[in-house]
């Protein structure tokens, strides 16, 4: 075991892994994290705790991860390259490990201009850091863990033992390069990969075939990303505006049909779309898990954590495996 995390153990056991996502609040109040952690607990093997996602200030990933951990939910702390230089990154990684965290996902991070796609003020005038990029951050974590060395070469008396993750946008531009992008992260030391949301199964399978041809599925655990659709509008938005996400028209049509079936009843339209959205999600989970080389799913029910229980049960992924304490 590299880290001994629950996520690592599930993956090592050969069973499909399930991760979910918990977005920390824009507040100093821990109760929302506690509430969400208890909603997700038992229905996933670990939950990503986002690091100021959409470039908006929230409870830090490490702090929220510790709060979730105290509730019995294993966290995957996230670290963006946007906000810290390598000194701050490594200091935070040592601190996170000292607090008991065992999974870390390395990501570039949304640009500071994003500000929740313009819905919030955010901090578009902030200075970004990008001292290192995702690939380099993965390499830093690996060097710390496996060689007991800091990036600069100084020794660590006790190395932080992280299960190292990175993200992958299989359907992003330039599409020919995406399998190599994955290869670089795997070569740098990524133990697991969580992908951008997948709706276009054919496209994803074609990219996975290229990844398999590079032997990457044997060297890392690819968890296919599933973003739970809640409304037809959300699917349309993701198709047109979210980089690397293509939504087939058939899925948008299905959600539209669900919406129209309710006539003018807005409450019912919402309910019917949610039911259809969960149905689509469960189908996508099966299709992603049937794709050769995939080791699990990363399910994001954005601001809808209560949906996870039903989805995981309907997908036949409940109960989650448990292991005796190491």
């Amino acid at each position: 075991m590299k880290s001994g995390s629950n996520l690592e153990r599930v993956i090592a056991s050969g069973q499909p892994a399930v991760t979910a996502e918990l977005g920390p609040p824009m507040s100093a109040d821990p109760h929302e994290v506690i509430k969400k952690a208890n909603i997700l607990k038992g229905y996933c093997d670990a939950a990503n705790i986002t690091d100021c996602q959409t470039a908006v200030v929230r409870i830090s990933s490490i702090a929220a991860a510790v709060i979730a951990f105290q509730q019995g939910l294993e966290p995957v702390m996230q670290m963006t390259c946007r906000d810290r230089n390598r000194i701050a990154m490594q200091a935070d990684l040592l601190g996170a490990a000292a607090l008991g965290l065992r999974n870390c996902l390395c990501i570039a991070g949304d640009h500071q201009k994003f500000s929740a796609a313009g819905r919030l003020k955010g901090h578009p005038g902030a200075k970004n850091v990008y001292d290192v990029d995702t690939c380099q951050l993965v390499g830093i974590l690996k060097k710390m863990r496996d060689e007991g060395l800091q990036e600069g070469g100084d020794k660590l008396e006790v190395a932080p033992k992280f299960f190292i993750g990175a993200s992958w946008t299989p359907m992003g531009d330039p599409i020919d390069f995406r399998p190599y992008n994955l290869m670089k992260k795997v070569n740098a030391g990524a133990d697991f990969i969580q992908t951008q949301g997948i709706y276009d199964i054919e496209g994803f399978r074609s990219q996975m075939e290229k990844a398999r041809n590079l032997g990457l599925h044997e060297r890392t655990a690819v968890l296919g990303g599933i973003i739970v659709p809640r409304t037809a509008m959300m699917l349309k938005y993701m198709d047109s505006s979210v980089a690397g996400v293509n939504v087939p028209k058939a899925l948008i049509d299905r959600m539209n049909k669900a919406k129209e079936a309710a006539g003018d009843d807005k409450k019912k339209a919402k309910e019917l779309q949610e039911v259809e959205g969960i149905k689509i999600t469960v189908e996508l989970i099966h299709q992603v898990l049937e794709t050769p080389g995939v080791k699990g799913v990363h399910i994001q029910a954005i601001e809808w954590e209560t949906a996870i229980e039903g989805i995981v049960k309907a997908a036949g992924l409940y109960p989650r495996p448990t292991f005796p304490e190491a």
Partner: protein
């Protein structure tokens, strides 16, 4: 070239309004090409200040002048005596020019008349694009001649992030994704395999992160010194 843009006039007025004798001092190289601070722009800015002063009922003498370059001492020599007669120089040179003149002018303030933006090129008339960040450690041979430091919004070194959308950057549809361009260019050059190699964390000390930079060419300095001595000796003999 260095690309600059004009400052909002209100900001300029706030800087200059309490001065009596002002020289708007243009530079006829880079900032003239980008229509920000050449002799012509200095002249226009000087007349705008005069008009504003008239409107505000302030007594002000505002003149303009320009030299070819504000970054080497010899260009200043013919005009320095005149420049020192003003109580404010509003320089429309780049920031290099403002600093350089400030160090040489004595007790007269030098204020910036423009914003210095970046190192760039002129792909078409009236358009200027940033192409180099002056990081001090060029890797363009590894990236098809397209710089990820200057042109990727996140200065990523190992490939695109997840934000590339139809070849554009997540920051704006107006910005090309540098990594999209790099991959397409290297496909054409048949060198895409070069991108498979991981670029390790960079040593940023060659960039601004290492503190203000200075290049000193010892052989040139030694040559100049010898030439100076020679001319001094020659001068001595004549006397």
């Amino acid at each position: 070239m260095i690309v600059g843009t004009q400052k909002p006039f209100d900001e300029v007025w706030e800087m200059v309004k309490d001065h009596k004798k002002i020289l708007v001092f243009g530079c006829n190289t880079c900032v003239a090409i980008c229509h920000a601070g050449g002799g012509k722009e200095a002249e226009i800015l000087a007349s705008m200040i005069r008009m504003k002063a008239l409107e505000e009922g302030r007594e002000m003498e505002v003149k303009h002048a320009a030299i070819e370059r504000h970054c080497e001492p010899e260009f200043f020599e013919p005009v320095m005596e005149e420049v020192r007669t003003y109580d404010l120089v509003l320089s429309t040179a780049c920031g290099v020019g403002v600093n350089f003149l400030s160090e040489r002018i004595g007790e007269i303030p030098v204020y910036p008349g423009i914003n210095t933006s970046f190192f760039g090129a002129v792909p078409e008339a009236g358009v200027f694009t940033e192409l180099c960040a002056g990081c001090g450690n060029c890797i363009l041979h590894l990236t098809g001649g397209i710089c990820p430091i200057a042109r990727c919004s996140k200065t990523l070194m190992n490939g695109p992030c997840g934000g590339t959308n139809k070849g554009k950057c997540e920051v704006s549809q107006e910005i090309d994704c540098a990594w999209y361009l790099i991959v397409e260019r290297m496909k054409k050059l048949g060198t895409l395999d070069k991108l498979a190699e991981i670029q390790p964390p960079r040593n940023w000390s060659t960039a601004r992160d290492g503190g203000p930079r200075r290049v000193s060419l010892e052989h040139i300095r030694a040559y100049e010194e010898r030439e100076e001595q020679k001319s001094e000796l020659a001068g001595g003999k004549k006397q």
